[in-house]
Amino acid sequence: MVILAAFALWPLFVLVQMSLSEVGPAEIVGNWSFVGLRNFVDVLGDFETWKAILRTIGLCAILVISNLVLGFIAATVLSTTGRTASAVLGILVFVWALPPLVSGSVWRFLLDDTGTLNAILGLLGISPVNWLSDPALALWSVSAVVAWASLPFSILIMRGGLLAVNPELIEAAAIDGAGFWTTRWRIILPLMRPTLWILAVITVLYAFRSFDFFYVMTQGGPGTSTNTLPVLSYYTAFTNFDMSTGATIAVVSMVVVLAFAVPYVRTIKNEETS
């Protein structure tokens, strides 16, 4: 446990320390001068930070909608038994375990200006779209890829929740004359509320972790159009070599992550003790 604390907690402490100091590439090893909250004032006063926050919220919104709505529909579809369903589940698990580095590379190839997707559009007589090189579009293209990559997890969790619903309840509803969709909407969905909540929290946390996709597909560009909070923090620290500003942005996003993580962890702990 001591080792664990040293390995995992110490860096977080250093991160906070960095955000309160003035650290450039020259001072990585050595003494840092304490500057109080000046970095936070700078970061929160910077327009770029707020744009990055908005982009992160946009990404979260797309992921939550896709994971909950598409996830529920797909889980319903896949909760029927059959060869097709089990084959599709196999593929989903594979994509779920695929390193984001790989799926990001794959989609960078498919979404390239001369890539496969545009070739298919060309066959349909539609002119090519600059998925990743158009600043107005790039954020949404990457978000769609992140949604593609995170949907399998959501489907598998929801399917587990669906299969755990007591079949007698569904039969009772059928006897009362409720149709297939009425049953879904009025009986199954309310029963799954805890699952949906946890899934929404996990999805938001996932959005904050989905740095790999941005690194691989756009590197925050074109311009700064795909700088979400983690991306902005990374490039501030390692491309502009402004370690303390990067650390400050990271602390700001850590606060958001913790705000979501703590209630989530509490729910799980309650579940375990009950």
């Binding site: 446990m1 090893v29 529909i73 369903a85 590379s105 390239d112 969790i157 059928a174 983690p230």
Partner: protein, 276 residues
């Protein structure tokens, strides 16, 4: 679950569509990796072509060192994660003393939160920590960083496996006069074989695909792991698609192998770690 018959047909079609949305991109990538450079340059989207191993041969020739680096990192990380994670998971699930139980609960909550810290946010402070310990730019430094990243996850996934061992067995071991060390090695570890395999496989797959630490903590000019090469190829403006895709296949190779041979175990392990 009862599904009306016409709806069932619609569902099969929908399920197949969903499957294709995930399968086709992957198939396309594998096909591209079997094209020659010229074929891709002429038309990156040709469907008909003569498959060659040329790209793979070139990638493996140039990247032989990278594969060795990857193996070194991944094997060390997996071994260390298991060596520390198994005893830790064991300690966190045995209820010995009320005080220890409280410590274990706090420890678990910390682990869960740590597991959620986004990786790019640990890169910045780790850079300075590793520099202070004089292991920045070395393989041991990178292995240490990977260990800190993956250990919380491993312990969380291993714990339910430890909890599943019936208490009666421990009592029997005690009556037979086995020491606690003996019990751990003779009883806990063999009973955990399934869990150890699952977690080991997941850690191996993840460590093999890790690149953020690799490209930042290894100095320029060293041999990067395969994942690092793939990330580097991606950061170049114009990409060599067939090379890129062959590297992507190599980066996904451990997953592919585990998936083919132990799909069910992998699924169980992944879902345990994800929900808990």
């Amino acid at each position: 679950m009862i599904t009306p018959r016409p709806l069932k047909r619609v569902f099969t079609v929908l399920a197949a569509t969903l499957g294709l949305a995930y399968l086709l991109p992957l198939v396309w990538v594998i096909l591209t990796a079997f094209k020659t450079n010229n074929a891709v340059l002429k038309n990156p989207n040709s469907i008909f072509f003569r498959p060659t191993l040329e790209t793979f041969r070139a990638v493996i020739n140039d990247g032989f060192g990278a594969i060795l680096t990857s193996l070194q990192i991944t094997i060390s990380v997996t071994a260390l994660v298991l060596a520390i994670g198994v005893p830790a998971a064991y300690a966190l699930s045995r209820h010995a003393h009320p005080l220890w139980n409280r410590v274990a609960t706090i420890g678990l909550a910390l682990l869960l939160i740590l597991q959620m810290v986004p990786q790019p946010m640990t890169v910045i402070p780790l850079f300075s920590v590793l520099a202070n310990w004089h292991v920045i730019g070395t393989l041991p430094g990178l292995i240490l960083a990977d260990l800190a990243l993956l250990l919380p996850y491993a312990i969380i996934v291993l714990r339910p496996f430890v909890l599943a061992i019936p208490n009666v067995l421990y009592e029997a071991a005690r009556i037979d006069g086995a020491s606690s060390v003996q019990t751990f090695f003779r009883l806990t570890i063999p009973m955990l074989a399934n869990g150890i395999f699952t977690v080991g496989a997941i850690i191996f797959i993840t460590a093999w695909g890790e690149f953020v630490y690799a490209i930042n903590f290894l100095p320029e000019g060293t041999v990067l792991p395969v994942s690092g090469l793939l990330a580097q190829q991606n950061s170049q403006y114009s990409a060599n698609w067939n090379t890129l895709m062959a590297l992507a296949v190599l980066t996904a190779l451990p997953l592919l192998i585990v998936f083919l041979f132990a799909q069910r175990r992998l699924v169980n392990g992944l879902s345990l770690g994800a929900v808990k």
